[in-house]
């Protein structure tokens, strides 16, 4: 066991990325992820890495694309408005089948929105965001420890499947201080990357990093191939936490900060004798459909707790094939549901049908 240190979520991401071998960071200032960039600016020059404050998020993500083409670990971080600007580059990275890590420490929107925590970029992260047929691997931490662990995991998954990954956090997770143990995070063995552009040395045919296919049959084939890989990811990489679900009549579904709030509410409801449990998706894509589908045969209903107008709720309905009612318990615009609000929702569902 390593030693625990007290860290802010944003800093934990940065330190975890460095320990996982990331030596290239490109960003543009935005609240509430500033500490992450500041940490990188301090550390990277000391360890022979690259920290570059780009002229915009558009430029930053395209710098990421450049490094990703060389096969080296690379990341960028931002918050909602900045992540909107990155969508062009994300689509190109996905289209060129490159690994990269994008961090979104979400804040309220739309537009300039606010600077308080939010989960309203769920659709953008999990359903596309940029143009074209593609997916991101999306991981949602709900503690500072997970901010670190999932950062390392995101790099690994992204490289394993050649699919860009996104860590979808929020302002509370970024600012929150908790003890973390980073001793488990290390750089993986260097793998061969025969596709990388590092110079032909005049010994091989040139490599091309590209997403342009003017022949539609070829582009269709490329998309088919990518979706075959997505299928494997959906089969093998779903992560979720199941809490008090064994005998549950009601299933709360929540991720990130909403899951922490919901857990408190579940514990409080149990004290009142209500059989309620929580399923916390850790991967938002692939979405953990199986445990929700199983729960749908046992529980009387689902409560989707979100810091948005209700986005994940659509995936809950799809996963459960609307077999049971799914209700929304939410705040938005930078507000966070309280445990009492979630508890009230649970009580209401418990009362129904009695």
């Amino acid at each position: 066991m390593g030693e625990k240190v007290l860290m802010k979520g944003n800093e934990a991401i940065a330190e975890a990325a460095i320990r996982a071998g990331c030596r290239h960071y490109f960003g543009y200032p935005i609240t509430p992820q500033t500490e992450l960039a500041a940490y990188m600016a301090k550390r990277m020059p000391k360890i022979g890495g690259v920290f570059l404050q780009a002229e915009s998020e558009v430029a930053a993500i395209n710098m990421v694309y450049g490094v990703a083409g060389t096969g080296k670990r690379v990341m960028t971080s931002s918050s909602s408005p900045g992540v909107s600007l990155k969508q062009e580059g994300i689509s190109y990275i996905a289209g060129a089948d490159l690994p990269a890590l994008i961090i979104n420490v979400q804040r309220g929107g739309p537009g300039l929105g606010g600077i308080q925590p939010s989960q309203s970029d769920y659709f953008q992260a999990t359903k596309g965001g940029g143009h074209g047929d593609y997916r991101l691997i999306v991981l949602a931490p709900s503690s500072v420890q997970e901010m670190a662990d999932l950062t390392a995991k995101a790099f690994d998954l992204s490289e394993k499947y050649l699919v860009p990954a996104m860590l979808l956090a929020d302002g509370t997770m970024g600012q929150m201080m908790e003890p973390v143990d980073l001793s488990g995070i290390s750089e993986p063995e260097k793998a061969e990357k025969p596709w990388a552009v590092t110079g032909t040395q005049c010994k091989r045919k040139h490599n091309i990093i590209n997403s342009l296919y003017l022949v539609p049959e070829q582009l269709e084939q490329k998309n088919f191939e990518r979706y075959e890989r997505y299928k494997v990811i959906e089969e093998n990489e779903c992560l979720y936490e199941s809490f008090m679900m064994d005998d549950a009549d009601i299933c709360v579904v929540a991720f990130g900060i909403a899951a922490r709030v919901s857990k408190n509410a579940v514990v409080a409801a149990r004290k009142e004798g209500i059989k309620v449990g929580l399923i916390r998706p850790i991967t938002l894509w692939p979405f953990p459909k199986a445990p929700l589908a199983q729960a749908a045969d046992k529980v009387k209903g689902f409560i989707s707790v979100e810091l948005s107008m209700g986005q994940m709720i659509e995936d809950v309905r799809l996963a459960t094939e609307c077999k049971k009612p799914v209700v929304l318990c939410n705040r938005t615009g930078g507000m966070i549901p309280t445990p009492e609000q979630v508890l009230e929702s649970i009580r209401n569902m418990a009362k129904e049908g009695k």
């Binding site: 290239h24 694309y65 490094v67 062009e88 190109y92 552009v197 590092t198 110079g199 040395q201 091309i208």
Partner: protein, 251 residues
Amino acid sequence: MAIVFQKPKALTDAPLHYCPGCTHGIIHRLVAEAIDELGIEGKTVGVAPVGCAVMAYDYFACDMVEAAHGRAPAVATGLKRALPENIVFTYQGDGDLASIGMAETVHAATRGENITIIFVNNAIYGMTGGQMAPTSLPGQVTQTSPYGRDTATAGFPIRVSEMLATLDGPQYIERVAVNNVKNVNKAKKAIKKAFQNQVEGKGFSLIEVVSSCPTNWGMTPSKALQWVEEKMIPYYPLGVYKDRSAEKEGK
């Protein structure tokens, strides 16, 4: 038998798709010759733009990356920061470099990124069928300035070389043309120097090449070259706009 003319090694065998009489082909050749002569093909990574040169990744024999419209300097920045020992260049049109990608261009220049940019100024958007470019001349008729570019509403053409030369970051900026043999030879020298600078770690070099687009200018290739001489070059004077090594020597 002495070979007097052959394809540069740094070009592949893929047939170029450019229109007859288009000077993109000459510029490709000059870039490839510079790469050959400096012996850097094996460590060069090129960045293709969005524009008529989008397929440049098939034509240059070195490793290549296709960038989003205008983002080539940012992509090249990432490449060069990850591969400081390699040679990184971009090849971009005027819409790509001076309109949608202006921020990326100016900031790569001001950071003094040790990269080489080949900027092809043909005063029009070729690929999309001849719309007004930031470099289209006042009065120039294009698909989106059908009554001629009206500077009152569409503003004035941007002289990229002059503008970038005001920055402290760049090492070398020169504007050349490829409308006659004499100018082609000068362009060749400038392009080679722009790569040589990078080999020597001197920093940002940009060569603006005044080019032609006979197809969208609606001219024969020879008439287009005449238009370059009579209209383009007077607005875009050829010459060195910045050369830090010469500044030093001069002192």
